[in-house]
């Protein structure tokens, strides 16, 4: 069944109403009529087709190498199918290398961002120290700054410390994630203090409290945040473009876009795009429940 249960005890900036249970028969009243159901299915399907069409076209056209695309013939999936474009793109291009780089970029960043922002968010949420408000608001202010303003100085800095064309040079600057800190703070603020007090009284060290109590409680927000940070890094384009010089360091987005300038046929480009998109699509299909629950449940709606 679908996840219609309201989110559990998530801290939001406004109080959340939890619907009280009602008797079953009154649910019926709100359900649409037979006709209503059919109408709903029709226009949802229409919207679904429009949303999905680009992906469909991508896959089908990638299987029709060397052809001039004609409508509607080229969109029929079972005519003239060949995997030649995939062979070409997988053997002639460094797609697997790009895939590896993107995985490293995304996974390492996720772990690091989650850890660092949880640490900082916890401190902002539960601790008192001088300059806290100023620091926190300056974090927030950085969200407003368009990335491109900082791009050139960031590159010059990375080049100066020898980070160009390296994994750590790629990853490190992206770990400064203000939204992550903000979300962690929001979430942790909603956690009851007694748990920490009790552990403190028992003599547990602060870091231990963080690891053993705070982090486990944050699982829902960590899952959601992790997914979004992962996605953001997977699809990141401009920064990997600037920091990676050699083909070996390209991420998928940079690599696929470099195909555009190589005058490759359309089907090869699309094959490359399909290969680049496939991993997250599968990951999404598996993890979609968490994504959906996460977006709906953790007060990202503010």
């Amino acid at each position: 069944m679908t996840t219609m249960t309201p989110p559990q005890a998530q801290p939001l900036s406004e109080p959340q109403t939890i619907p009280t249970p009602t008797r079953n028969r009154s649910f019926r009243a709100l359900e649409p009529s037979r006709a209503g159901i059919v109408i709903r299915w029709i226009w949802l399907s229409l919207a679904g087709v429009l949303a999905f069409f680009p992906f469909y076209a991508m896959v089908v056209l990638s299987l029709k190498p060397g052809q001039v695309v004609e409508l509607p013939g080229s969109l029929i999936p079972w005519q003239d199918v060949s995997f030649a474009s995939y062979e070409q793109v997988l053997s002639g291009q460094n797609i697997l290398g790009w895939l590896g780089n993107t995985l490293i970029y995304s996974l390492v960043s996720v772990v690091a961002v989650l850890f660092l922002s949880a640490l900082a968010g916890y401190a902002f949420a539960k601790k008192r120290f001088a300059g806290k408000e100023v620091m926190f608001w300056s974090f927030l202010a950085m969200v407003m700054v368009p990335f491109h303003v900082t791009l050139i100085p960031m590159f010059i800095l990375m080049a100066g410390i020898g980070g160009v064309d390296t994994y750590w040079g790629l990853i490190l600057p992206t770990l400064a994630n203000a939204q992550a800190v903000f979300l962690m703070r929001q979430f942790i603020q909603g956690l009851p203090d007694d748990l920490f007090e009790a552990a403190r009284i028992d003599g547990a060290g602060e870091f231990r409290i963080f690891l053993r109590i705070v982090l486990p409680l944050c699982k829902p927000i960590l899952a959601t945040l992790g997914i979004f940070v992962f996605l953001w890094h997977w699809n990141d384009f401009l920064w990997p473009l600037i920091i990676a010089k050699s083909n070996a360091m390209f991420t998928l987005t940079v690599g696929i876009s470099s195909l555009q300038q190589q005058n490759v046929p359309l089907s090869t480009m699309l094959a490359g795009s399909v290969v680049a998109l496939a991993p997250i699509f599968f990951a999404y299909l598996i993890a979609q429940r968490y994504v959906q629950e996460g977006v709906t449940g953790t007060g990202i709606k503010g």
């Binding site: 001039v68 300059g131 010059i156 080049a159 100066g160 473009l241 600037i242 010089k245 876009s257």
Partner: protein, 415 residues
Amino acid sequence: MRVSKFTALAAGAAAIALLAGCSAGSGGGGASSGEQKVTVWLYPVIADEATHKQFWDDTIAAFEKDHKDITVDYEIFPWANRDEALQTAIAAGKGPDLVYLIPDQLAAYQKSIQPLNDLLSKDRQDELLPNVKKSATIDGDLLGAPILTSALPLLCNAAAFEQAGVTEYPKTWDDVREIAPKFTEKGLYVLNYPASPEMTLNMTYYPLLWQAGGQVFTKDGDVGFDSDEGEAALSFITDLAKDGALDPEALTTTVPLEQTAVAQGKVGCTWNNAVPEVEPFWGAENVKVLPPLTGKESVAYGTVGSLSVLKASKAQDAAAQFAEYATSADVVKPYLLASGFFSALSDTEPLYADDPLLGEVEKYVPDTTVGELDTSSRALMGVLAPEIQASLLGQKSPADALKDAATAAAPLLNK
């Protein structure tokens, strides 16, 4: 807010970090004494990566054998975004010693390139084709060791001409105007004119400008296209667009080659495609190599690829030596044959004597031009191309488009 010692610490860390970044200029190869290391950045001139790498491995091995104190490392970067990659690297002091550049880049990076007047042997400098040497020289400085050239005369599709019922290939602009309606009648296009923003004007508008007797830049460094000649060139192509003689899609969008009208045999002639590009689609028997069109003059564009030594290089001599070696006639021959380009040197035999098509194109090499070079060449294209599009799409008169482009170019030229 009182400044806590924490904030002071953080500020200090930031200052150090930024200073470290700003003093990046001193970064770079600390080679052991006596031994010089040369880094070369290249691009996929030869499309097949394996062949390309093989050539450079062999060339470097032979060079290093004769020069025991020099090691050469090369890296092949994709064409995509090469300027971003290169100029950010140069700005951060992490550029290569030697890099492959085309004339517009020579102009753009002029301040960062070491002139080769003293680093390249006199013999070699005399060996260069005159037009090639001119293309690589700015303000009297030879900014690169030319390794290849191209030539883009007129290529016409015999099959398309047959379909249109036209028997004579065009020589002048008037010829084109005359035969255009015949192509349009049959649902074909008389010329190929891609005008999307990333298409370089060198291959599209500038040849027309030069054929009309005009220039991109005047001798004083002002824009030269907002002249009568410029207007004549733009009007020529705009009128064709208005009459439906050009593929409207090509005027605005870049699509993969096999999807374009020219690949599908729907276009009569082109001066912006190379023989290897169209031959697979038209069939070798249909490719006709012809002299460039004549407005007032007959002019074709031909690029020059050079290996340039950067000023920041710590091994300039070694880099220049390698450049001279790699671009010498015997060494570079397999490179040219594999890539379909032509020799930049004047005393070599024709490379493509056996190839009827490329052999024909080769004859035009000594007459091609890259036009006038200026530091702001690329920026200028950026403001001129959209105005040309506006004219082609019928939104402005050619005269107005060129005038607006000249106005927009004013701040670019003041640098």
